[in-house]
C-alpha cells in the first residue's frame, strides 16, 4: 500500500487542489507534497540495503486475460529517484507564486505530473510502466501549453508531446513484442529479465525501447524538443520537468533496455551505438551551452551535456559506471533545478535573461552571488561537491569499456567550467556594479535552495552513503 499511496496521494490531491482557491490550493499542495516526501523518506529508511530484489512490492491482478498485473516495487535504482521526485515536487510547489494566473490549476497539474513520474519509477510491470509513462505526458502538455512562457507555448508543448510520442508509441510495439516473442506471456519486469528472446529480436526490441528513452532523456541527436520546451516551461515546472522528467528516460535505459536485452546484436551491437551518442551529446551540449546568450537556454544545454554522462555511465555496463550514473541522476536532479531557479530570480529582478546584458550583480545581491557560486562549482564538477563524484565514476566506467569514450567524454568536463564560469563571472562581476538597485533573494527563496545546497555538499563529501546502497543493485542489474 505504501507505494500506491506515493502516487495516488499527489494524483488525487492534485485533482482536488485544481478546484480550490489559490491560497488554500498552495497550502494544501505543500501539505500533499510534504506527505509524499514523508512517505518516500519512510520507504528509504525502511529499505533493506542487502536485499537486491524489489522491495515494498504490491501485486494485484489488473487485466488477467492478458497477464497484466498491477505491480509496484522499489529497488536500489529507483529508490533514490523516488525520494528525489518527492523532494523536487515540494520545492516546485513552494516555488509557485500564489499570484500566478490559475495557480490552483497549475499546482494540481504539477502534482499530477509528479504522480505520473513516481508511478514510472515504481512500476515493475511493463504495461503499468507504459501507462504511467504516457499518462505523465498529459499534465506536462497542459502545463507547458497553458502556463508556458514566450510567444507560442502551445507550439513548444505540441512539439514536446509529438516527439515523445513517436518514441513511446513505438515502445508500445516493443512492450507487446516482449509479451509475444519471449513466449512466456508476461509483463513482469523481474521475470522478463530472465527470459531474453533471440539476439535478432532483442535487436529490434532494443531499438524501439531505446528510441523512446533516448528521446525522453534526451540523448543526442534526439534533443530537438528540449530547447523549445525548456524555454517555454515556467520555472516552478522546470524544477520537476528538467529535474525528473528527463531522468525517467535514463531510468528506462537502466530498468528496461539493459536488463531485458542483454545481447541486442544482429547487424551491429546497440550497446556500442548508445555510448557513442552519449559522448557526442556531452560534447555537443557543452558546445551549444557555450554558444548561448539566454541563460535559461545555457542551463538547458548544459543539462543535455550532463545527461550524456548519465547514459554513458549506464552503457559502460560495469559497476562503477552504473553506480555513477545513478549518483549522477540524483546530482543532476539537485543541480539543474537550483540553476533554473537562480536564473529565474535574476530574470525577475533584471528583466532579462541575456547574459551579456547583465554584469556586476554580485555587489547588489551578495547572498545570491554566494549561492550561485556554490551551484556553479557543483555544476562544473569541482571535487568535494556532488557532481564530481558522479562524473568521475561514469568516466571510470567508460574507460573500462573503451578508453577513447572516456577521453571524449572528458572534453565535456573541460568545457563545463568554460560555460559555467563565463555565465557566473559575466553576470556577477564587473568593474562597475549593476546600474540599477536590485533586491537580493528573499529568505523564503534561500530556504528553497537550502536543501539542494546541503545535498550538494552531502553527496559530494560522502557519496559512499548512497553508493554503498546502490552497489549491489547495479551489480544485480548486470548479472541478473
Amino acid at each position: 500500500m505504501t507505494l500506491t499511496v506515493l502516487w495516488l496521494l499527489p494524483l488525487i490531491g492534485g485533482l482536488l487542489i485544481a478546484f480550490m482557491p489559490p491560497h488554500l490550493a498552495k497550502y494544501m499542495a505543500v501539505l500533499v507534497a510534504l506527505g509524499s516526501l514523508a512517505i518516500a523518506g519512510f520507504v528509504a529508511l525502511e529499505f533493506e540495503p542487502d536485499f537486491h530484489k524489489y522491495q515494498f512490492t504490491e501485486v494485484l491482478p489488473w487485466i488477467p486475460p492478458l497477464h497484466i498485473y498491477y505491480r509496484l516495487g522499489v529497488d536500489g535504482i529507483s529508490l533514490w529517484l523516488v525520494v528525489l521526485n518527492a523532494l523536487l515536487t515540494l520545492i516546485a510547489v513552494l516555488a509557485t507564486p500564489v499570484s500566478m494566473k490559475g495557480a490552483s490549476r497549475f499546482l494540481g497539474l504539477m502534482l499530477a505530473m509528479s504522480a505520473g513520474m513516481a508511478g514510472v519509477l515504481m512500476a515493475t510491470d511493463l504495461v503499468l510502466f507504459y501507462v504511467f509513462w504516457e499518462a505523465m505526458l498529459i499534465p506536462a502538455y497542459f502545463l507547458l501549453w497553458l502556463f508556458g512562457e514566450g510567444d507560442r507555448p502551445g507550439r513548444a508543448a505540441l512539439k514536446f508531446v509529438l516527439y515523445t510520442l513517436v518514441g513511446s508509441l513505438l515502445m508500445l510495439v516493443g512492450v507487446i513484442g516482449e509479451y509475444v516473442f519471449t513466449g512466456q506471456q508476461t509483463f513482469d519486469l523481474a521475470k522478463l529479465s530472465t527470459i531474453a528472446p533471440s539476439a535478432s529480436i532483442q535487436f529490434g526490441l532494443f531499438f524501439v525501447f531505446a528510441l523512446a528513452f533516448a528521446i525522453k532523456t534526451p540523448l543526442f541527436p534526439f534533443h530537438a524538443w528540449l530547447p523549445d520546451a525548456y524555454a517555454a516551461a515556467p520555472t516552478p515546472m522546470l524544477v520537476t520537468f528538467a529535474g525528473m522528467m528527463g531522468k525517467t528516460g535514463a531510468y528506462g535505459f537502466l530498468r528496461i533496455a539493459i536488463p531485458l536485452f542483454p545481447d541486442p546484436s544482429w547487424l551491429w551491437d546497440w550497446r556500442w551505438v548508445v555510448p557513442v551518442l552519449a559522448v557526442l551529446g556531452i560534447v555537443w551540449g557543452a558546445l551549444m551551452a557555450i554558444a548561448q546568450r539566454d541563460m535559461k537556454m545555457l542551463v538547458a544545454y548544459s543539462s543535455v551535456s550532463h545527461m550524456g554522462f548519465i547514459v554513458l555511465g549506464i552503457f559502460s555496463l560495469n559497476v562503477q559506471g552504473q553506480q555513477g550514473a545513478i549518483l549522477q541522476m540524483v546530482n543532476h536532479g539537485v543541480i539543474i533545478p537550483a540553476l533554473f531557479l537562480i536564473v529565474a530570480w535574476i530574470y525577475d529582478r533584471t528583466g532579462t535573461r541575456d547574459r551579456s546584458a547583465i554584469a556586476g550583480l554580485a555587489p547588489r545581491m551578495p547572498i545570491l552571488a554566494g549561492v550561485f557560486l556554490l551551484v556553479t562549482l557543483a555544476a562544473l564538477g569541482l571535487p568535494g561537491l556532488n557532481s564530481f563524484v558522479g562524473e568521475f565514476m561514469t568516466l571510470l566506467g567508460a574507460w573500462q569499456l573503451a578508453p577513447w569514450l572516456a577521453v571524449i567524454g572528458g572534453i565535456g568536463l573541460v568545457l563545463a567550467p568554460v560555460y559555467m564560469l563565463r555565465l557566473y563571472q559575466g553576470a556577477m562581476y564587473a568593474p562597475e556594479p549593476y546600474p540599477r538597485r536590485v533586491d537580493d533573494i528573499y529568505a523564503g527563496q534561500l530556504t528553497l535552495l537550502a536543501p539542494l545546497v546541503v545535498l550538494m555538499f552531502a553527496l559530494g563529501l560522502a557519496p559512499g552513503v548512497l553508493t554503498s546502497l546502490m552497489t549491489s543493485v547495479a551489480q544485480s542489474g548486470l548479472a541478473k
Binding site: 487485466i63 492478458l66 504511467f132 513505438l170 508500445l172 513484442g177
Partner: protein, 503 residues
C-alpha cells in the same frame, strides 16, 4: 463447373412442423430485437395520436424505455438464458448477438438523450426522428444476430434505409439533403456489392446459412474464382459500410451534412454494425479462406490508417475531422479482425464498445454548440469552451485524449488489445504502421483542445440540458472508468467472440 444446391431450408421438414413452442423459443432468442420493434410501433402510434405539443417528449420517453428494456432483456439473456440459433439457423441469440444488442441499445439511449434538446433547439419534428433511430437500431441489432446471408442483408438494408432518411432530416437545409442523397447513392452501391458477393458465395456453397458455409467451404476451395470474387465484392461493400479507405470518400461529406445527432449515431452505429457483419461473414463463415480475406482486409486497414490520419490533419470542421478519425479507427479495428481468434475478436468487440463512448461523447459535446440556425462544428465554435462550461471542456479533453490513445483513458487499452492480437498473429508490420499513424493522430486530436482551452474575452453562456449532461457524463465516466478497470469488458468481449471462434 459450378454446382448449385437448393436443399434447404424449404425442403427441410422442420419448416412444416413449426410448433408454437418452437415459435416462442425462437422469439425468445431474438427478444431484445422483438421488444424494441414493439416499442417502435408504440412510438409510431403515439406520434400519430398525441397532441402536437406533447408528442416529442412522449415519443422520446417511449424510445428510451424501449432501448432500456431491450438492453435489460439482452443482459438478462446473457447472464441466465440458454442462447443459440433460432428460426432454422437464420438468426441467433448467441452471446455475440447479445453483446451487440447491448451496445446498440446504449447507443440508442445516448442518441435520444442528445437529439431531444437538439431537435428542440432547431425546431425539428421529434417523433419521426426517434422512430427512425429506433428502426436503425433494430436493423443494427438484426445484423448482430444474423447467421444467414439473407438476414445479414435484411439488417443491413433496414438500418441503411432508416439512416438515409435521417441524414436528410433537416428538409430546409440543402447540405442535409446533399448528405442524404450521397449516402443513398453510395449506400446503394455498397449494398449491391454486398449482395452480389453474397450471391456468388451462395453459388459456391449452396447455402446462405453462415455456419453451414463454414462447413462446406474447405480450404481446398481457396482457388475457386467464384469465391474469390464473392469475397472481394463483399469486402468492398463492407469496407464502404465501415467507411474504410479506399472506399471512404462518402464519409466526410455525409457526416458533415447530416444533423449532428445522426452523425454521432452513424459514426458509432454503422461502424459497429458493419464490423459485426464482417466478423459474422468472414470470420465465422469463411474461416478456411482466411488468407484470402485477411490479405484484402490488411490492405484496407493499412490504407485506412494512412488516409484517415493524414487527411484528418487538414480539416477545419469537427464533423469532418471525426469522420476522418473514424476512417483511421476503422483501420485499427480491422487489425483485430485480421488477427482473429479469441484474442483478436475480443479486442474488436472491446474497441467497438468503447468507441461508442469516446466518439459519441465527442460528437455530443459538439452538439451543444448548435444554434437554431444550424449545426456549428468549426474549431472556432469551440473557442472558450473551458470558460463557458469547464466540466464540458474537461470531458471533451477526455474524449480526445482517449481517442488519441492516452492512458489511463480507455482508448489506450483498446489499442493495446488490438495491437497485441495483431503482433500475436504475426502482423507486426501492420501494428508498427498503426502505431506510427497513432502518433500522427495525436496532432489533430490535441489540436481540437486548443480552442477548447483558449481564453476568450466574453464567453457566451452554455446551458446543457439534463439529458445532455447525462449522455456526455456517462460517456466520460465510461471513457475513464473502463480504462482504469478494463477487465470485465474484455472478458465480456471474449465471451461475445466465443460463438464465432467456436469456444
Amino acid at each position: 463447373m459450378i454446382t448449385l444446391h437448393f436443399d434447404e431450408p424449404l425442403k427441410n421438414p422442420d419448416v412444416l412442423n413449426y410448433t408454437w413452442t418452437q415459435a416462442l423459443a425462437d422469439l425468445g432468442q431474438i427478444s431484445p430485437i422483438a421488444a424494441l420493434t414493439g416499442f417502435m410501433l408504440l412510438a409510431i402510434v403515439a406520434d400519430m395520436s398525441l397532441a402536437k405539443g406533447r408528442r416529442g417528449g412522449v415519443v422520446a420517453m417511449i424510445a428510451v424505455t424501449g432501448f432500456a428494456y431491450s438492453m435489460a432483456t439482452a443482459a438478462y439473456r446473457w447472464l441466465y438464458a440458454s442462447n443459440g440459433p433460432a428460426y432454422h439457423g437464420y438468426a441467433t441469440g448467441d452471446s455475440f448477438a447479445l453483446f451487440f444488442e447491448v451496445l446498440f441499445a446504449i447507443l440508442g439511449i445516448l442518441t435520444v438523450a442528445i437529439s431531444h434538446p437538439y431537435l428542440r433547439t432547431r425546431g425539428l419534428r421529434e417523433g419521426e426522428f426517434h422512430v427512425l433511430i429506433m428502426a436503425a437500431v433494430i436493423g443494427m441489432m438484426v445484423l448482430g444476430a444474423a447467421t444467414s446471408l439473407v438476414t445479414v442483408f435484411l439488417g443491413l438494408e433496414l438500418f441503411s434505409i432508416a439512416l438515409y432518411i435521417a441524414c436528410g432530416f433537416v428538409r430546409a437545409d440543402s447540405r442535409s439533403q446533399e448528405s442524404a442523397a450521397k449516402y443513398l447513392l453510395v449506400g446503394g452501391f455498397a449494398s449491391a456489392f454486398v449482395l452480389y458477393g453474397m450471391a456468388l458465395v451462395y453459388g459456391a456453397s449452396g447455402t446462405t446459412l453462415i455456419p453451414e458455409i463454414a462447413k462446406r467451404i474447405a480450404s481446398s476451395s481457396a482457388g475457386d474464382p467464384l469465391l474469390i470474387l464473392g469475397i472481394l465484392l463483399m469486402g468492398v461493400g463492407f469496407a464502404f459500410k465501415v467507411s474504410a479507405a479506399p472506399f471512404h470518400m462518402w464519409t466526410p461529406d455525409v457526416y458533415q451534412g447530416a444533423p449532428i445527432p445522426v452523425t454521432a449515431f452513424m459514426s458509432v452505429g454503422t461502424k459497429a454494425a458493419a464490423f459485426a457483419m464482417i466478423v459474422r461473414v468472414f470470420a465465422e463463415g469463411l474461416p478456411h479462406l482466411g488468407p484470402e480475406w485477411q490479405l484484402l482486409l490488411a490492405f484496407v486497414a493499412a490504407t485506412s490508417m494512412i488516409v484517415g490520419n493524414l487527411l484528418a490533419i487538414a480539416q477545419s470542421s469537427l464533423k469532418r475531422l471525426l469522420a476522418y478519425s473514424g476512417i483511421a479507427q476503422a483501420g485499427y479495428i480491422l487489425i483485430g479482425v485480421i488477427a482473429g481468434g479469441k484474442q483478436g475478436l475480443a479486442a474488436v468487440l472491446f474497441y467497438l464498445f468503447i468507441y461508442l463512448f469516446m466518439n459519441f461523447g465527442a460528437f455530443a459535446v459538439v452538439t451543444l454548440m448548435t444554434s437554431p440556425e444550424g449545426d456549428r462544428d468549426s474549431f472556432s465554435d469551440l473557442e472558450g469552451l473551458a470558460r463557458r462550461s469547464w466540466p464540458m471542456a474537461v470531458l471533451m479533453s477526455v474524449f480526445m485524449l482517449s481517442l488519441a490513445g492516452f492512458p489511463p483513458f480507455v482508448g489506450f487499452f483498446g489499442k493495446l488489445f488490438l495491437f497485441t492480437a495483431g503482433v500475436n498473429a504475426g502482423y507486426t508490420w501492420l501494428v508498427v504502421l498503426a502505431v506510427l499513424m497513432s502518433a500522427v493522430s495525436v496532432y489533430y486530436y490535441v489540436r481540437v483542445l486548443v480552442p477548447v482551452w483558449s481564453p476568450v474575452a466574453e464567453p457566451e453562456s452554455l446551458r446543457p440540458s439534463i439529458s445532455n449532461w447525462l449522455a456526455i457524463g456517462l460517456s466520460g465516466a465510461a471513457s475513464l472508468g473502463l480504462g482504469i478497470y478494463p477487465t470485465w469488458l474484455l472478458l465480456a468481449g471474449q465471451l461475445g467472440a466465443g460463438p464465432i471462434t467456436g469456444q
